[in-house]
């Protein structure tokens, strides 16, 4: 039986990469009230979560 952490980790890693790239390429694209690079910071969090899930699934296998 495959591990649910694999597809979840994969999706979050892809989202993380997309968000980090968006944050780096268009740092000035900010919503009206945002003071930070929301895409970059959130993207890093997504990436960490995604990679952790993948690592946990790999370790269990």
């Amino acid at each position: 039986m495959w591990d649910l952490r694999t597809p979840s980790g994969l999706l979050f890693t892809i989202y993380g990469v997309l968000l980090v790239i968006s944050g780096l390429l268009w740092p000035e694209a900010r919503a009206p009230l945002a003071e930070h690079n929301v895409n970059l910071y959130s993207g890093v969090a997504f990436l960490i979560f995604g990679v952790t899930l993948l690592w946990l699934a790999r370790r269990a296998a």
Binding site: P7, A31, L33
Partner: protein, 549 residues
Amino acid sequence: MQLHAVDYLILGLYFAFVIGIGWLLKRRITTSSDFLTSSRSVPLWITSLAFVATNLGAQELVGMCASGAKYGIMTSHFYWVGAIPAMLFVGLFMMPFYYGSRARSVPEYLKLRFDEKTRAFNAFSFAAMTIFSSGISMYALGLLFQLVLGWSFTASVLLSALIVLVYTFLGGLTSAIYNEVLQFFLIVFGFAPLAWFAVQRAGGWQNMAARLPEVMTHSWKYTGDASANPMGIEVFGLVMGLGFVLSFGYWCTNYLVVQRAMAADSMTAARLTPIVGAFPKMLIPFIVIVPGLAAMALQNMNLGYSLPVKGNSYDYDQTIMTLMAQFYPNGMLGVGLTALMASFMSGMAGNVTAFNTVWTYDIYQSYIRRDAPDSHYLWVGRMTTIVGTILSIGAAYLATLYNNLMDLLQLVFSFVNAPLFATFLLGMFWKRATGHGAFTGLVAGTLAAALTHGLTLAEGKGAWIGNLHEFESVMAQNFWIAIFAWTTCFVVTILVSLFTEPRPVEELRGLVYGVTPIPHERHLPWYKRPGFVSLVAAVSCILLNVIFW
């Protein structure tokens, strides 16, 4: 709100993943029990997150954020009073009877414990309720996307329903549960940044609180008197009505959530499902209610942000969407919308899978065709997924045409639900309770609920018989309706049971306290025992109440 290619890419990837998970699980389905009850095979961490996620529908997210903007921290009562105690109770005291009996569903438990008519009453009302609630949430989602993104109502309703249909049709309950976990992660990671950045912008927690009326930053302080707080509730109605009757009625007897625990792979895992789920559940207010508070504070800061207006009051239901537009650039905006879509799907899939099982086992197999081979019931389960989805879409369109009819139906369902917990409590803990007693109690409790609504007035609602009392708010009225319904059901069930023939004790083995083996967990290390984990959850929940009192 303008979406870019990256947002569509994020949304599209999500759709591909949920369907992919359904596809991967398809091979595991060979019997009707695999499809409808996951054959008791799902690990604990998955069932406990699914238990929380299935209740975290889009209406809940939008509604709780709206309530946060309108009432403030008091909204947390729906979690810390209205969910945690009941979740711990169902895990500790009721799961041994659900999981330990041969019942495949909650209505079937009623059949085994009481009789056919009690099961029929519960099965039919529950089946109708799941269809209408998934229809109503589909309607709400369609309206929201139409309003904010300009998408066609029909397109968003059909697309989201189709995706839920595909993955539940492929992998049944297991697919719904696995996807609920992915959806749970997306909801948390999609909304937590919003809460974080919005509170930061409002100057951090202390400064944000200083910009709000004091009544919005306390959960208990102003509940001594119903007229002192914006919810219009007082502490007795709150604790007894919401904390006891409504919350125990929902978390302990609603098959929608109980089904997740019953899919767990062992008795201990089934008991721990709601107990472990209590931890994420008690933290959800920080991602769904706090953005509402921040929105209210930001509005008072002259930043050019204001809550949308509808008529002569705020349109609180749009709070979460307007905040996203203020804080999320393209990219995160796609993630936020995906999270909203994910929450809608987890709620709808919960309804669809619960409807499937109740329809196939409790209605079709019991009243239409009893002795067919199992492959026939697997086929019926699959077809029910399609029919249930079509009926939900129908209910969504009915809601666009007859809004008042939907309000009326929801009211009737709340009357039927209010007394339920009394029936289960007596059924599980009192051997003497009889089928006639349970059925009469349920009917009497439902009538008592209707009668209370007919005799009291709140915000112009109710009092269609006469006006004996006026409540400060509809919420307070609901709490008291529940209290009267529960008490009536409890008393009537006891009285009628005493005058009717009880079932022989041998038939109640595994169903009632006293003739059911108590699951012993002495072989487990102490920190994995349901009792200890519940204690930690209870202490944490009390601490949260103290901090935000």
